[in-house]
């Protein structure tokens, strides 16, 4: 042990390290660990911030089962994730493949497609979306040319969620940039070898591009899924904080916000938050397990 330490550098780094890590330690304890444990405790209490928390066992979780809003939030969030993520990543991959083939003006297209990702989570774009899909908005006007009179999409419970899905698909630029970086990592020799073996364009795509891109696809899938589960701003602004009409845009995080910071029912909100964390954990774990069957790491 002393030998390796001497080789690595001077002694006494342990002490210095802990000085460097003072902010991190404080953050870990005060901002992460203690709140994490506190929220776990609160999940089993009835607490409205004014009185002291009252332990009530599994009552909060039992209440969820009977809570129509909870189930609406679960349904809305699942539909949002399941529909928007495949579409978003599909667009991202398709555009990355089109742009990768030595096309001129790559920088311009990349920036143009990335711009929506940059702005997509802002309140300003959510406001824009309200008008685009609202009464006499862009979409309403465009569809009326074809004789379709749908009125405001945001007032229509069967259409309102799709506006938010479109908004998420619209931000395909950031996964696209990651795909482009991944495509550039694929060595040209592999394509040459495939061509020598007589592989055509399609065979090169299915035999070289896709397998070597699977780690990137996996990475994007995990990242975007975790992000989508936690979407908040767009639903809040588009529905004016209500999650309406008829709970059709009641994102799960919006429901946590309503319970915790509008009703100040903080025990119940904590329980809801833990269910979200558990759900994200399970989905991520399932992705990792399934990845063994389709993600290709290295040449084994």
């Amino acid at each position: 042990m002393p030998i390796t330490r001497a080789r690595r550098g001077p002694r006494g780094q342990g002490g210095a390290a802990h000085v460097f890590l003072i902010p991190w330690w404080l953050g870990l304890v005060l901002v992460t660990a203690v709140p994490l444990l506190a929220s776990l405790y609160l999940a089993f209490t009835d607490y409205n911030i004014l009185s002291t928390p009252e332990f009530n066992g599994l009552e909060n979780f039992r209440r969820m089962f009977e809570d129509g809003y909870f189930w609406a939030a679960v349904r809305v969030t699942l539909v949002y994730v399941l529909v928007s993520i495949p579409l978003q990543l599909g667009f991202a991959l398709l555009l990355a493949l089109i742009l990768d083939r030595g096309l001129r003006g790559l920088a311009f297209y990349r920036s143009a497609f990335y711009l929506p990702s940059l702005l997509g989570t802002s309140v300003a774009v959510a406001i824009l979306w309200r008008q685009v899909f609202g009464d006499d908005g862009l979409i309403d006007r465009a569809l009326s040319v074809f004789g379709l009179e749908l009125g405001s999409w945001l007032q229509n419970p069967s259409l309102s969620l799709s506006t938010l899905i479109v908004l998420n698909v619209w931000t395909f630029g950031s996964p696209m940039v990651i795909f482009l970086a991944g495509l550039r990592q694929i060595p040209e020799e592999l394509y040459e070898a495939a061509r020598v073996d007589g592989a055509g364009v399609v065979r090169q795509f299915t035999g070289v591009t896709i397998p070597l891109l699977t780690p990137i696809i996996f990475f994007n899938l995990i990242l975007q899924t975790i992000g989508a589960f936690q979407s908040f701003t767009q639903a809040h602004v588009v529905s004016g904080g209500t999650g309406g009409p008829a709970n059709s845009t009641l994102f799960y995080t919006l429901y946590i916000y309503q319970q915790g910071f509008t009703n100040f029912d903080m025990g119940y909100a904590s329980a809801l938050a833990w269910v979200l964390m558990a759900a994200i954990g399970v989905v991520t774990a399932v992705h990792f397990v399934l990845s063994k069957y389709w993600v290709f790491y290295g040449d084994d």
Binding site: P10, A16, W24, P35, Y109, S117, T121, D136, R141, W274
Partner: protein, 293 residues
């Protein structure tokens, strides 16, 4: 080779080149059409903000028949306070967050990447796991904590976490970057007698500029756009950041017009757009290497 065959190969290759040009041209046409479709809503917002209010939703087409800046002037004063107040608030929060992240994340990353101590791997693992932790699990106890110290409706809840290295994404980014700096440089510094602090300040920190730039850009964009945290903590209008102020403008939409709302939305995006224009290259590289949004 006879002239005839030479001519025929030339024609053939010329035909192939022509085909390729035609194919690329079609591709460019398709892509440009798609860019236009993607950015159309933004262009529509710009055009509408320049129209007088009665024309915003009635006049089809982008080119305003009448250009006016009234929406910007009136929108700026649509709430009880001028928007300059909210811009200043946003600026304070954003600059504070940038300083906090640069300070705390670089210190942490240096220790995790370069110093030898027990549990280093464990700390690194904790940092990576905390990236995945949804903030909604933490936000309620944090709120209770800050409200017990009477700090709700101040900027402390927004800024303190940044000074405590809680944006683990950036620690990860900086650790990755420091690992690419040759160890010989620190060894040379050690031989010259500098301790860890001097090595950090004089050797590593100047060399990690690209990672610091990426951190600055993303902290700026995320903090500027952030809505959830300011919405929870900032209760009095004089403390509002721009997104919260915009949101409150939506609530009072009946009084104001859509044109004003568009004008102020547009103004709120300007700092991000300017940052994007200036720092495009670093930004794209940042996403490509770390997957930040």
């Amino acid at each position: 080779m006879t002239t005839a065959t030479l001519d025929s190969t030339r024609t053939r290759s010329r035909a192939a080149a022509r085909r390729r040009i035609r194919r690329d041209l079609l591709k460019h046409l398709g892509l440009c059409a798609f860019v236009l479709l993607m950015l159309y809503p933004l262009v529509w917002m710009i055009a509408s903000s320049l129209k007088p209010d009665h024309l915003v939703l009635t006049e089809p087409g982008l080119i305003p028949s009448e250009i006016t800046f009234d929406n910007f002037v009136e929108g700026w004063h649509a709430l009880n306070r001028p928007f300059s107040v909210f811009f200043l608030n946003s600026l304070v929060v954003t600059v504070g967050s940038i300083i906090g992240n640069l300070f705390s994340c670089s210190l942490t990353a240096f220790a995790l990447a370069r110093l030898e101590f027990r549990m280093r791997r464990v700390y690194l693992a904790i940092t990576l796991v905390s990236v995945m932790l949804p903030m909604h699990v933490l936000v309620i106890p944090q709120y209770i904590f800050f409200s017990q110290f009477d700090l709700v409706n101040t900027y402390y809840p927004l800024l303190v976490p940044k000074f405590l290295a809680t944006d683990a994404f950036f620690i990860y980014l900086m650790v990755q970057f420091i690992r690419t700096i040759p160890r010989d440089l620190d060894r040379a510094a050690w031989i010259d007698g500098s301790g860890p602090f001097r090595t950090f300040w004089y050797v590593i920190l100047p060399l990690m500029r690209p990672a610091l730039v990426t951190t600055t850009i993303f902290t700026f964009i995320w903090t500027w756009n952030d809505f959830f945290v300011p919405l929870i903590y900032l209760t009095s209008p004089k403390m509002f950041t721009v997104p919260v102020a915009l949101n409150s403008m939506v609530d009072s939409e009946s009084q104001g017009g859509v044109g004003m709302l568009f004008a102020m939305s547009l103004v709120s995006l300007l700092p991000v757009l300017i940052f994007f224009a200036v720092a495009q290259k670093q930004l794209i590289r940042g996403i490509a290497t770390t997957g930040l949004k």
